[in-house]
């Protein structure tokens, strides 16, 4: 069975002259990390990798860095997407930020990505790592000294534990066999429901403790593929000034509430916001809660059907109870 990385390299080579750039992943600063790769020269294609370390959602670059709504010279943007990433891509197409025709999409069914923090809790002394793979329900880490096996559910990203879409739902080429999701529809909001079992005072205490750590780095906002206001974001405008620079809980809550509200019904639960948070706040939960409400009220989930229009961007006079 061919290594998927080699397949990716081979397939992109075939169409490279029609592409302006290929977005993929390459090895990061050490063998436990991967970084996004912008490949513009054909000889760099052999940098492409595929493994459980490929966490980043590359769709984040489509609007903000590459302005993917138009391509003047007819060349396309090649992009690798996992299941969760493909939902973001569909959402961008739904909102017309990206034109399908400008993309050459390579979908890769994904068994999960590793959360480095959680892995370190298990085994902080991992050194000389040579290979990281998923085998069944285990993460297998081969080092020069020995092979480690970790239960997948203890080292995967939170988003993967509730993943219902491991197989890309939009692609020009699928690399790999479709796989079974980790979670069924009934488990989609298990993490939200867990918090809702707390009493209201306990819930407030929980969120105060988490949000208090926020340092307003705005990484969660910048990592979100659907956050496309770029440099005009309301939390940073000076005229008028909505948010104080103060670092009290009130301002931090204000920021997170605004961000979640602006993503209500648009968030595709790719989990990047939570992954990038340097102080490990479970920010995806807030957006998932709003998504749950949208699902119940309007029977809609973002990023599934490219033809559907997000209900919060339109209105239907026949809607009741709003």
């Amino acid at each position: 069975m061919e290594d998927k990385a080699k397949t990716l390299q081979r397939e992109f080579l075939k169409v490279f002259e029609k592409l302006e750039v290929v977005l993929g992943w390459e090895p990061g600063y050490d063998s436990l990390h991967a970084s996004p790769s912008f490949i513009r020269q054909v000889e760099d294609l052999n940098k492409l990798v595929w493994n459980p370390l490929c966490s980043q959602n590359l769709c984040n670059y489509l609007v903000k860095t590459l302005n993917a709504s138009v391509r003047e010279d007819g060349k396309k943007i090649g992009i690798c997407v996992k299941g969760c990433d493909s939902r973001s891509l569909v959402a961008l197409i739904q909102e017309k930020f990206v034109t399908r025709e400008t993309l050459y999409i390579v979908g890769i069914p994904c068994e999960g990505t590793v959360n480095w923090h959680r892995l370190m809790r298990f085994e902080p002394s991992l050194k000389d790592v040579q290979k990281v793979t998923i085998q069944g329900q285990e993460l297998v880490v081969e080092t020069a000294q020995k092979t480690y096996r970790f239960p997948l559910q203890h080292v995967m990203e939170q988003r993967c534990l509730h993943c219902r879409y491991p197989n890309p739902i939009i692609y020009d080429l699928l690399v790999g066999e479709p796989i079974t999701p980790h979670a069924g529809d009934d488990q989609a909001y298990g993490d939200v429901e867990k918090i809702e079992q707390y009493s209201l005072p306990d819930r407030l205490k929980f969120w105060e403790k988490e949000i208090d750590r926020c340092i307003r780095c705005y990484a969660c906002r910048n990592a979100c593929p659907l956050c496309v206001c770029r440099d005009s974001c309301i939390v940073e405008t000076r005229t008028p000034k909505w948010l104080a620079q103060r670092c009290d809980l009130k301002e931090k809550f204000f920021y997170h509430m605004i961000h979640a509200m602006h993503l209500a019904g648009r968030c595709t639960e790719c989990g990047e916001c939570e992954r990038v948070c340097p102080v490990e706040i479970p920010v995806t939960l807030i957006k998932k809660k709003l998504n749950q409400i949208v699902k119940e009220l309007l029977d809609y989930e973002a990023g599934i059907d490219p033809q559907k229009q997000p209900p919060l961007l339109t209105f239907d006079p026949s809607e009741k109870g709003i």
Binding site: D30, E210, R213, I215, Q245
Partner: protein, 354 residues
């Protein structure tokens, strides 16, 4: 010669209790249950102090809080003439003594940059000066380096005692602690009992072993000219920086980054002028009121960051690099941009051209 004491791991909590009666004690604690990251917080009983790994965010906010009040103002009507207004303006607050316990050499080194900028320029920053004066550092010898660390590449190292007031070496199931100056010496009697000659000898050996290690394969201390030469090579910067998402994490977790914003936060007739952490990676950092922005693209902003740390700062301050090699920017970056490679490749590209 200063006395060396030994404190067992199990007695650490009691020692921190004693110290916190004399001053504010800042210790590294876990971010939360089942979380990996570590940050510095004021000590209180029940804190679990984490000394076996580097903190995610260093103790920068002990001397340079994320939000600090510079002035307080209040508009008042002039009692002699109600049509006139008066402004009541206050600065200064009292600052208490503090001890930063369990920092690492890289954290302490970050403050050298601050000292140059905040204390030794044409103007002295009184807020920082006061805090600096009243804060001591009990620094831990570092033997927990990982693949992102590179302190040796920037003229420091895991056994670098410079800038600390007390030095801790992990020995047996505890620490041998030594005062490095008079300020530190005052705390020794509260901290523990004299160390045995065996413990002192062990500590000495560990110190030698660790000091001999080289953490970080490159030498990044002579990159100023290479940077200037590559300043206008936009292809290079685009190549290196395309993956950046222009958040503020690298600057916020960096022990040497000191850029700040000044804003007035008021309600009705009173308020405060505060300074708060800002980041050169934000678009708004240099955005002028006219709408012009000298660094509109993220490549330009990242180029300025590299330039500031490895070129402008050493050019201004006798070769001192404004980077302590802690690796936090690499570890915490959402896309793992590696500043070591970017600076190192400046050299290689110039060599290739030659």
């Amino acid at each position: 010669m200063y006395e060396k004491i030994f404190i067992a791991q199990g007695e650490l909590a009691a020692m921190l209790e004693r110290l916190s009666k004399e001053m504010d004690v800042w210790v590294p604690v876990e971010m939360g249950d089942e979380k990996w990251g570590v940050r510095f917080l004021p000590y209180y009983r029940d804190n679990v102090v984490v000394l076996d790994r580097q903190s995610t965010i260093g103790p920068k906010n002990v001397l340079f809080p994320q939000v600090e009040t510079l002035l307080r103002f209040r508009y008042q009507k002039d009692s002699q003439d109600p049509s006139k207004q008066r402004i009541d303006l206050k600065d200064r607050q009292e600052v208490s003594s503090a001890l930063v316990f369990g920092a690492r050499p890289c954290d302490v080194r970050g403050f050298f940059t601050f000292d140059h900028v905040f204390l030794n320029g044409r103007y002295k920053d009184p807020y920082y000066a006061q805090c600096r004066e009243k804060t001591l550092f009990a620094t831990l010898l570092c033997d927990t380096e990982d693949s992102a660390c590179f302190c040796s590449s920037v003229d420091s190292g895991p056994g670098d005692r410079e800038g600390s007031d007390l030095w801790m070496v992990p020995v047996d199931d505890g620490y041998v602690i030594e005062a490095l100056n008079d300020k530190g010496r005052k705390l020794i009697p509260i901290m523990g009992k004299p160390a045995t000659p065996e413990q002192i000898e062990k500590a000495q050996r560990i110190q030698e072993q660790v000091t001999a290690k080289r953490i970080g394969e490159y030498d990044l201390t002579r990159s100023a000219k290479d940077f200037t030469g590559r300043f206008e090579d936009m292809d290079y910067w685009r190549d290196m920086v395309s993956r950046c998402i222009s958040c503020g994490i690298c600057t916020f977790v960096c022990p040497t980054c000191y850029c700040f914003n000044i804003t007035d936060e008021s309600r009705d007739l009173e308020g405060e002028r505060i300074r708060s952490w800002d980041s050169c990676m934000f678009y708004h950092y240099t955005l002028e009121a006219s709408g012009h922005n000298p660094r509109p693209e993220k490549f330009e902003r990242y180029r300025n960051r590299v330039g500031h740390k490895f070129s402008y700062f050493p050019d201004t301050y006798n070769g001192m690099i404004s980077c302590c090699g802690c690796g936090r920017c690499i570890r915490s970056c959402p896309v793992f941009i590696d500043i070591r490679k970017i600076v190192h490749h400046l050299k290689e590209a110039v060599d290739a051209e030659n």
